[in-house]
């Protein structure tokens, strides 16, 4: 009760501060920041007022608002990869000013060079643990088989670790794979992977922006313990028709966009298909082809946006993608066929409304669905298994800019979740049902939040937030209060220190095998009487510094995170083959992680890139696992290093390289064996394994270097880009997994137990062609 009173007091204080400031006589400068060429709104672009040495950034829809005392101001607009602009503003009334950044110049504008403008958002904003990654920078990195992957790119960042080699699964600050929230245009994506984790579902050509939060979470985000990945799709070029795409060895993609009504509405549709196995099948003789299963995936991102009025804008967007494995074998007597389709579907309807220059709202209706289906048929017998999760969400978010000192966000959301963890249906002949086993859980989740980014003075700025989640299951209700606090203190023009604390709750949980990486069969489950919500407390401290006129950006962050109500399978249990209630095969414990993250980036120049290094540890303790002793988490990675460089030889040729190094991940392997009577009572001895410690075996450290050369082709009406990339240039045999087996010893011809390390990806060259017209 005392805690609730304290938190309520904190909320009141926050609201009072806003009210107090908004009562003074001031004027507002507001508008949208857009790409001059295609009309795309710019997310997180900087608006800097030189006279008061402060500014703001555009929100997720490119809107900015800043309220100042009357006067004349120099306003600088900038965005990474765009030519900055400055404008002289006489603020004697409210002004609406939409600014286009790009290559085009407007009259009366003062053009300043990038070297002169101060891009210090990383130093000046009271946010930490967040990385905004411009898509243009990601596109410079070397690619794997011609396919640029967003999730693999974020694995390179400090505090983010990869899973097994070449997979897109990622782990943030010692958390599990299920603790990462992935949002695409406000819709939750439950399984953001194709090909069982080898590729992400995100088509780079369709994406405008992404932000990764690994700590210091603003209050508008919740529901996961470790990270939030917020991805925005392109709105579509509202100036002219445009097509871009790429042809690679395993996938090809095409994006079309253009105006519906020039400057007011646009469309974007982007598709991608994976055809590697289809090509292989086409190349082999028919006799072999008949016994080969086929695998393919595709995804589609459509988006429409309409400027309804000066104050209203409507967006309709979605994602539709499937992975499919299928097989059919027909003999003289029988037909055997099976198929495994799985995939995500999302649809988002968003309405932006500008109530006035200080108050912006976004109302969303969101549908999200993930399902996995396994169908098997042999003769008349059929079997079908389905698992999945379906969400319907309504939410409203407000951005309120009462003064230059405050940026307030508040909102409400409601989600209805429908979980279908396992549904299996057996039938003989088409209409004769043998058995049907369906488990469906329907639960509701609410949240309300308020967040204020408050500039106290020139040195001190705060990010204060509160989130109130509520989770209603049939048999249990959970209520939470989540304080979020980040403070920034400026030491000098280029240096600041930041500290933060966040509390997060997670009400839905992913059950996946502890021994196998992310699979499409993993189950989402809601919190219940037995499965308590996961929670985490995270504290972090960071030093942020820019060097050499902001050409270099560096930061060091240390963090400590505790995680409660963590879930694992009991020993001997797994997702498959259990007839028990799922609750009954789980065990619960706690975890904690801590580490230091170092990041240095050279932002501009012909030679640019970054170095990211993480020193960390992540541990778990479960009463019923490992004899109750502490053990390392599977992805407890002590060292994680990424070095990415890019060099532009000239306007046509450029070179990029990527080096990664990481400590091996942990496995539970038996190292000894011993003999006792079979099952403890049998008349013969049998041997059993001595596992010693859970996750007690660490796989070998991995390292790899990728290189790529890019050649740009400029024609009058189209541009192209040839990419020549080599993955794992020195063909390092990195461990993928380890298993035990018996093999024949060549010398003695006797059987011998071995542990085998499997490596799957040696040096792989690729060539791809990207085009745009």
């Amino acid at each position: 009760m005392k805690r609730i009173l304290h938190l309520s007091g904190f909320l009141c204080l926050l609201l009072c501060l806003c009210t107090h400031v908004s009562a003074q006589q001031k004027y507002t400068l507001s508008g949208f920041l857009k790409d001059a060429e295609n009309g795309e709104t710019l997310i997180g672009a900087n608006v800097y007022i030189n006279e008061i040495k402060t500014g703001t950034v555009s929100n997720n829809f490119g809107f900015y608002s800043i309220t100042l005392e009357p006067g004349t101001y120099s306003v600088f607009y900038s965005y990474v990869g765009y030519e900055p602009k400055s404008k002289q503003i006489v603020l004697d009334k409210d002004i609406e000013l939409n600014v286009n950044l790009g290559t085009g110049l407007e009259l009366n504008e003062v053009v300043i060079t990038e070297e002169k403008i101060k891009i210090r958002e990383n130093v000046e904003r009271p946010q930490m643990g967040v990385i905004d990654i411009p898509i243009k920078q990601i596109k410079e990195l070397p690619v794997f088989l011609g396919e640029q992957d967003i999730l693999k790119s974020i694995q390179l960042l400090p505090g983010v670790q990869s899973g097994s080699e070449a997979t897109a699964a990622y782990y943030v600050r010692g958390g599990g794979a299920d603790q990462n929230l992935v949002i695409l245009d406000d819709a939750v994506v439950y399984n953001p992977f194709h090909a069982a984790g080898f590729m992400s579902i995100f088509n780079m050509d369709a994406i405008k922006n992404l932000s990764l939060y690994k700590g210091g979470f603003p209050a508008q985000y919740g529901g996961r313990l470790s990270s939030i990945l917020d991805i925005s799709l392109k709105d579509g070029n509202n100036q002219k028709f445009e097509a871009e795409g790429g042809i690679g060895q395993i996938t090809s993609r095409l994006t079309l966009q253009g105006p519906i009504q020039k400057g007011k509405s646009s469309f974007m549709i982007s598709g991608r298909a994976f055809y590697y196995f289809s090509l292989i099948r086409a190349m082999v003789p028919k006799s072999i082809r008949q016994s080969m299963p086929n695998y393919y995936f595709y995804d589609l991102n459509p988006k429409l946006n309409f400027q309804l009025s000066k104050k209203d804008r409507l967006f309709i967007s979605g994602y539709y993608g499937d992975d499919v494995i299928n097989f059919k074998n027909t003999s003289d007597t029988d037909t055997t066929e099976y198929s495994f389709p799985w995939g995500n579907k999302t649809a988002t309807l968003r309405w932006n409304h500008l109530f006035n220059q200080k108050l912006f709202s976004n109302t969303s209706l969101i549908y999200s669905d993930y399902d996995f289906t396994f169908r098997f048929r042999e003769g008349d017998y059929q079997f079908k298994l389905v698992n999945g999760i379906r969400d319907l969400t309504a939410k409203i978010d407000f951005d309120y800019f009462p003064s230059v000192l405050h940026k307030v966000k508040f909102g409400l959301s409601y989600t209805h979740h429908k979980f279908t963890p396992v549904t299996d249906v057996e039938a003989i002949e088409l209409d004769t049902l043998i058995s049907e086993n369906t488990r469906v859980y329907e639960v509701d989740e609410f949240a309300a939040y308020i967040n204020d980014e408050y500039t106290v003075n020139d040195q001190l700025a705060l990010n204060l937030g509160l989130r109130f989640p509520m989770f209603l299951n049939d048999d249990q209700q959970y209520f939470g209060i989540e304080p979020r606090l980040t403070a920034k203190y400026t030491l000098d023009e280029n240096t600041s220190v930041k500290a933060g604390y966040t509390l997060m709750n997670q009400y839905i949980h992913l059950l996946s095998s502890s021994t196998v990486s992310v699979t499409p069969l993993d189950l989402w489950l809601p919190s219940s009487k037995v499965i308590k919500p996961q929670n985490s407390h995270q504290v972090a401290l960071g030093l942020f510094k820019n060097f050499k006129e902001d050409m270099y950006e560096g930061n060091v962050e240390v963090y400590y995170k505790t995680m409660g109500n963590q879930i694992e399978y009991e020993e001997g249990e797994s997702l498959f083959g259990t007839d028990s209630e799922i609750d009954s095969i789980l065990t619960f414990g706690k975890g904690w992680s801590y580490g230091a993250e170092f990041f240095l980036r050279k932002r501009s120049g012909r030679f640019n890139g970054f170095i990211a290094y993480t020193l960390a540890t992540s541990q778990r303790r479960f009463g019923e696992l490992n004899n109750g002793n502490i053990y390392p988490a599977k992805y407890d990675r002590r060292h994680d290093l990424s070095v990415a460089v890019n060099y532009d030889f000239n306007s046509k040729w450029s070179f990029s390289a990527l080096f990664v190094f990481g400590s091996g991940h942990n496995l539970t392997l038996p190292v000894g064996r011993f003999y006792v009577p079979y099952n403890g009572w049998g008349s013969q001895y049998s041997y059993y394994y001595d596992y010693v410690e859970k996750n007690g075996y660490q796989m070998k450290a991995f390292n790899r270097m990728d290189v790529g050369i890019k050649y740009k082709v400029d024609r009058k009406k189209r541009t192209g880009e040839w990419r020549f990339d080599i993955y794992n240039v020195y063909s390092r045999r990195n461990p993928y997994f380890v298993y035990l087996g018996i093999d024949r010893d060549r010398d003695s011809n006797a059987s011998k137990y071995y542990a085998f390390q499997v490596s799957i990806l040696p040096m792989i060259p690729s060539v791809s062609y990207n085009f745009k017209f």
Binding site: Q249, V516, S574, G672, R673, Y689, D690, Y691, S751
Partner: protein, 335 residues
């Protein structure tokens, strides 16, 4: 067109190259040096003398041919009860334990193994008492303790049968005995059911001459003796059912592979059902053995560690109490 063909060829070449190179590579790993541990196997039973088997674990990696189990002969083993410690002697015997050899290809053949164990006749195991095991060996000291549980009586043995239809329309009838008993409240309990067919054995008496030679024999009595005992694998735990009544099903052979158990040549089935009330540590140990054996080789399953109450080693020092009931009445007809 010519340019397209060149690009197409290059594309197919790289595609093929990718196929060839992207194969797995197996590398034998050297795991860390494994130091063998002492494995204790000792289950105390009321009315019997304690027996402690000590073997040694070995590194998993290496040759799989194991001709003999490595028994530990040089340990000092003692059991303490009621403040008195008794030293156990090393004994040898063929006993019922036999070793096996793993041959290349995974075939097994059994061979007799001389079992070594530590034993004393100076101690009778009693219900409710706590026994402390101590094993000392140069550089190694192991300890464990167990409290012998009270046997839980079988309240009733009831014959039941149920009929069910398979998915192909065949009708089956299951016959079973239901052993009904009540869990002891307020403590953690594990139970195991064991069943044996009773076969009538004739008891003979002999007639001797003055020199002591047998000159005749006659049947003096008929006894029911257990034969072909079956222990059911399921370990019953009272977790969440503390103090509740239990019904343990003992299936009759008509629905089991009864050919393994010689059908009695009499028309009345005679069955002995034993209810083993086992100590918690023994219950967990049995559970973990079965779980590990059942899931061996399944990569999706959370690995199972064998539970042990031995400080400084592996294995089990546990105890059990046994109650039994016999069932005679129902006539079972065999096809």
């Amino acid at each position: 067109m010519k340019r397209f063909n060149t690009i197409h060829k290059l594309f197919l070449l790289l595609l093929s190259l990718g196929c060839i190179m992207a194969c797995e590579q197996k590398i034998a790993l050297d795991l860390d040096e494994y130091e063998g541990k002492i494995v204790v196997q000792s289950i105390l039973e009321p009315g019997k003398n304690p027996q402690v088997f000590l073997t040694k674990s070995r590194a998993l990696l290496g040759f799989s041919d194991v001709n003999t189990i490595e028994f530990v002969k040089d340990a000092e083993v003692s059991i303490r009860v009621d403040g008195q410690s008794i030293l156990l002697d090393l004994e040898t015997g063929f006993d019922e334990y036999s070793g096996f050899t793993e041959t290349p290809g995974g075939y097994y053949h059994y061979e007799d193994t001389i079992a070594l164990f530590y034993y004393t006749t100076e101690m009778d195991i009693e219900v409710g008492k706590t026994y402390e095991l101590s094993v000392n060996r140069p550089g190694q000291a192991l300890t464990a303790s167990t409290t012998v549980p009270n046997p839980v009586e079988i309240d009733e043995l009831v014959y039941e049968e149920s009929t069910w239809t398979s998915e192909w329309g065949e009708v089956y009838t299951d016959e079973y005995l239901k052993a009904i008993f009540t869990d002891v409240e307020g403590q953690e309990n594990f139970y195991v059911i064991e069943q044996s067919f009773l076969q009538q054995q004739l008891q003979y008496e002999y007639e001797y001459n003055e020199e002591g030679e047998i000159i005749g024999e006659f049947v003096s009595d008929t006894l029911d003796a257990p034969n072909s005992s079956i222990r059911w694998y399921d370990i019953m735990s009272d977790e969440g059912l503390d103090g509740y009544g239990f019904s343990a099903y003992v299936w009759l052979p008509s629905q089991r592979n009864y050919w393994q158990y010689p059908p009695p040549d009499i028309d009345t089935i005679r069955m002995e059902v034993k209810l083993r009330s086992i100590s918690p540590e023994l219950g967990r140990f049995y559970d973990s053995l079965e779980e590990q054996d059942w899931n061996d080789g399944d990569p999706t399953v959370e690995p199972v560690r064998i539970w042990s109450n031995i400080e400084g080693g592996l294995g089990i020092f546990g105890s059990l109490g046994i109650s039994e009931a016999r069932y005679y009445d129902h006539i079972v007809y065999f096809d």
